[in-house]
Symmetry: D2
């Protein structure tokens, strides 16, 4: 063991009614932490119950994956929200998930906004604070997953800790920003595993121009919505373990 | 004082976005208890926050007014739900409201299903138990408002107490069932006050055929969505006070 | 050729935003007629445009597959509708589809309600007439696909023709009613092809008790939402052709 | 008569299910032209039918008032749409309204986007063309109501005519742009009538800084959602008539 610790988180429960996007149970074996959709960009109460149950069964850390009220756009279209709306949408969704998680014997350990809600909050301090306020007024011991810790001084006002994320299966530009493409580039499992190892061991990532830049990350986010996702997740986990990294949730649930 | 105690509850926060149904603050002065809509048949996160804040400010007991997922039908159209759906829809909505209420320094003291969800659960023991299970897994000290106590033996399985409601501004038939009409009959404030007093003092109500039948009621539900509602609520409260009745919530919030 | 003619119709375009249920283009090769979802139980404007375009490209007859306003339940949960609502929901959806179809150079040849809307209309003459009125006021030359022709006398009042459907991939009971199960029985392609041939050549179908009963059907509905659907569709079409049946739409589009 | 002609249009049918915003029939007496909401930012099929019927009864010109798919935000929050989405959302909504209007014996004479959809299309040529394409592929004889005629060269590509609108009950800045405030300024009926007369007779409007600027307007849009709206509408119409202006729709329906 090299003393390094890393978490693998994945967005889950992103179906809606009859529609599914992934075989969540196949993914859960390879991760430590589930960001569970809360009904605004995806999911519904029955899907939430099932996903929460499965996540508890798998001993995963659970977080609320809150989104914009845009099922049709899967929370990926910018929607001009006021800070009040941003706050209240988060309060509502976190509260709803918390009820399921506690009913199933777990606890909500963190909050991570989804898609464009995540970007909008990251880009606008007032909207970021709206998210932080919503989290803190429910339980300030919850962690907040964020792109980086540049807004930790704002989170401090609410007694919150930001956990910076790395995204081994997405592209970065030379400024360390994610490059979001309409059609996601699909890397081979070993490539993603390499990138995950880079982030974890070296604190660096290769950008789309081929440069290597520093990146802060205490958790790795991997996507579950492609057919190769289970294989990618397995490859990442095995690679990290082979490198002597302890693969562990930020807040492993008590058994 | 005659030792009698009665509660006046009202369904509030039943707007949606730009649309409103009532001037909730005008109603809050005359009641003890607010059933706050939770986003499925009506309301949205911003409306919920505002309504909860106002209810806390007015010192009202607060309950979750959960509904069917049918904004277009205002939760008043029968929708064939499975017990699992009934349970999970309640868990979701109660959890969401609880987050707002606790954030604003209050507590959710009770749950009362809305419209047809209320009827469907009342008519079907399995659906009733689905509601009870949802309430109990969140907090079995919450009260459940119900048409009568005929299903208390089912509630007992979940450690819950049913609080039977009387509806002075609705018509009853000779079997004690509510007569729901497309266009609500509008009674003069004094008539509703008379009926409220009948229920409270005599445990009886006059049916639409003119008979007087016994009715069990520990709380009175009055509707807030007509232009005369504030006047009706005031008349009922004044009449009860004039009769020596203590007008008080089941669970008055701690100040 | 034995002089027999049969149509193969399939419900298409039943995704919603990011969610899909089937690879519609793979299905289109094997059918004559597309029932295209219209945004209430499934689909959205962009999906409708894409599905319509593909159906026009494949030379398919196009119909409006109208549903209940219940995305979450995929239009499969009974919802108590008034005749006015039934009519207006159909008017709205047919009108919306018509705009896409005509923009893409096709025409709406028929209407077929989806899921529980289909059953509710079939079981209640007043609701059936509400559908017929909606169709007729838009264009009474459109065909109406229906379980059987028992309500043709009602359709006559609106100048409409009912086209009875057979469902080779569903079970029938001894009264000729469909047996809808939570988990659909999955028959081998040859079994479904056999059943399709039975309906087409003999006008009979085997029930779940093993009896053979008469069935009227001028069109065959096959489902596209299982992984074996393309194979099943191909098997049915090939079998009908092998039996000398002309596989043809009721209203083949003009080229 | 001074030979001047002006149209008075109003956005109508902007309720949703149980919720209403205005007494539309009270407004219809004073206008020539109804922009009828089509179910995305407001309205639903039953409301559309009722509004269309009433508009036909009142002999009004009817247009499709298309909006963003954001009931919760009443179509007033920017939503990042692709041109394809913009086009298809308009096709869908215009088609739906057209079915009701033609069923009731009228015709859709124009299209006018609502709220932020209107602004987004006006500000972005690609989105403007998406709207124009949707209108033209349904019926290029429909008029398109627009802030001004600056994009007529784009409309020309689709064979469409833009009709520039004036807004006597809204504020303008010195650049001729509308000043949209959270809480609308409420002008006395005579003030709005004065502004309507200014626009109609002089082709000028007073800005919020007190300057008078030129404005092109072939139709006047007045809002129906405040309690004084019927009075304002009456005042405007009477004032225009008193000034010798013919108050007439762009496309008066044939009787």
């Amino acid at each position: 063991m090299n003393g390094k610790v890393m978490e693998i988180n994945c967005d889950l429960g992103e179906g809606f009614g009859r529609w599914k996007v992934a075989d969540d149970r196949a993914l859960m074996k390879h991760i430590t932490t589930a960001n569970i959709a809360t009904g605004f960009h995806a999911s519904d109460p029955v899907t939430m119950r099932e996903t929460v149950k499965a996540a508890v069964d798998h001993g995963l850390q659970i977080g609320a994956h809150t989104g914009l009220p845009d099922l049709l756009g899967f929370g990926r279209r910018r929607l001009a929200l006021s800070p009040q709306e941003m706050r209240d949408y988060n309060t509502y969704q976190i509260g709803a998930l918390k009820a399921f998680v506690e009913a199933e014997g777990g606890e909500v350990a963190h909050v991570k906004p989804h898609g464009v809600m995540y970007f909008q909050a990251y880009e606008d301090d007032e909207l970021a604070e709206a998210v932080f306020a919503a989290v803190a007024e429910i339980d300030s011991s919850m962690l907040v997953y964020w792109f980086d810790t540049g807004q930790q001084h704002l989170a401090d006002k609410y007694g919150l800790t930001l956990i910076p994320e790395g995204f081994p299966d997405l592209q970065y530009d030379d400024h360390g920003m994610l490059v979001i493409e309409r059609v996601k580039r699909s890397w081979a499992p070993e490539v993603v595993a390499d990138r995950a190892a880079q982030i974890t061991l070296d604190g660096r990532i290769e950008t789309d121009s081929g440069r290597s830049i520093p990146i802060e990350a205490e958790t790795l986010c991997l996507h579950g919505d492609s057919s190769s996702s289970p294989e990618v997740l397995r490859a990442v986990k095995e690679r990290l373990l082979a490198e002597g990294v302890a693969v562990r949730a930020q807040r492993p649930p008590r058994r």
